[in-house]
């Protein structure tokens, strides 16, 4: 091992710590849950309201639960099940991603209703 190997490793770790600090400093309790499919926001729900959201597109199925201001993906029929095992969310920017179905659930500070009719215009 050379000296520069260690320096680069330390540099990378410092970048990680810096970014982590930045993220923590900018962390806030969210108020909306933004659900997107294929990069397009399809649903925005208040975090305060307990509810179960079921997304079904063809044979792709995802079940999202909002309970006590915490969001979890309780069920999905995707291949890798990573989304179901992702830890519950409550702070802004945190997200659950289901890559096989291209579904993302992100906590936002403030939400606006998506323009669902955008397609039919």
């Amino acid at each position: 091992m050379k000296k520069m190997d260690v320096i680069v490793a330390i540099l990378f770790l410092m970048i990680a710590v810096g970014l982590f600090g930045y993220n923590v400093a900018h962390r806030e309790v969210g108020s909306f849950v933004e659900i997107a499919k294929n990069g397009q926001v399809v649903q925005v729900e208040p975090l305060a309201e307990n509810q179960e959201i079921i997304l079904e597109y063809g044979d792709q199925y995802n079940k999202i639960l909002i309970e006590n201001e915490v969001v979890t993906m309780v069920d999905a029929n995707c291949r890798d099940q990573l989304c179901v095992h992702t830890a519950p969310l409550k702070t802004v920017g945190r997200a659950i991603v289901c890559l096989p179905h291209r579904v993302s659930v992100v906590i936002q500070a403030n939400g606006t209703e998506p323009e669902v009719d955008g397609i039919s215009e």
Binding site: A9, L13, L19, F20, G93, R94, L99, V106
Partner: protein, 172 residues
């Protein structure tokens, strides 16, 4: 012929490593893997020319995605694999006096995870998620890059006792 069979064998080994590393429990963060297949990329970079290494990486990614992945995971692994491959090759061409094999492996892992974080942001059209995961991905890259580098270095030493003796292109 020796090179041809070695390349085929390396693709096979990389595929098996990609498959079996999922059974090694690691922290539960999507995208964090040991990256054992990176050992094969490293060895290929040190033993073969760029074109042959590219063939090994591309075939490995395609075949693994065909057997176990999805089109999305293909985009994901291909971008990470290619970016780290090109980055490590450039380092080998320019900076072997500065970095050893382990340093190059760490930088390769860093580039791999950086590319994947960017692709994640592009795929879902938002970088708010990538921003949160990126620090974890960097730490994971340093740890896994170091480990795969250690293993790779040991392999490069052992290779002197095989028919590939003397084929090493760069100092380790």
């Amino acid at each position: 012929m020796l090179q041809f069979t070695t390349m085929a064998l390396m693709i096979t080994i990389a595929m098996v490593l990609s498959y079996f590393e999922r059974f090694i429990p690691l922290i539960n963060v999507p995208g964090v893997k040991l990256g054992l297949a990176n050992i094969v990329t490293l060895l290929a970079l040190y033993l073969f020319d760029f074109k042959q290494t590219l063939i090994i990486v591309v075939l490995r990614v395609l075949l693994v995605s065909m057997f176990t992945g999805s089109p999305i995971s293909l985009i994901y692994s291909m971008s990470g694999g290619l970016v780290s491959l090109i980055g490590m090759k450039l380092l080998l061409l320019t900076s072997t006096k500065v970095f050893s094999l382990i340093g190059i492996s760490i930088i390769g892992a860093f580039l791999h995870n950086t590319a994947q974080a960017i692709v994640l942001g592009l795929l879902i059209n938002s970088f708010s998620i990538a921003r949160v995961y990126y620090p974890i991905l960097i730490v994971a890259a340093v740890v896994t890059g170091f480990l795969t580098g250690l293993i790779g270095r040991q392999f490069m030493k052992q290779i002197e006792y095989t028919p590939l003796k003397g084929k090493r292109r760069y100092p380790i």
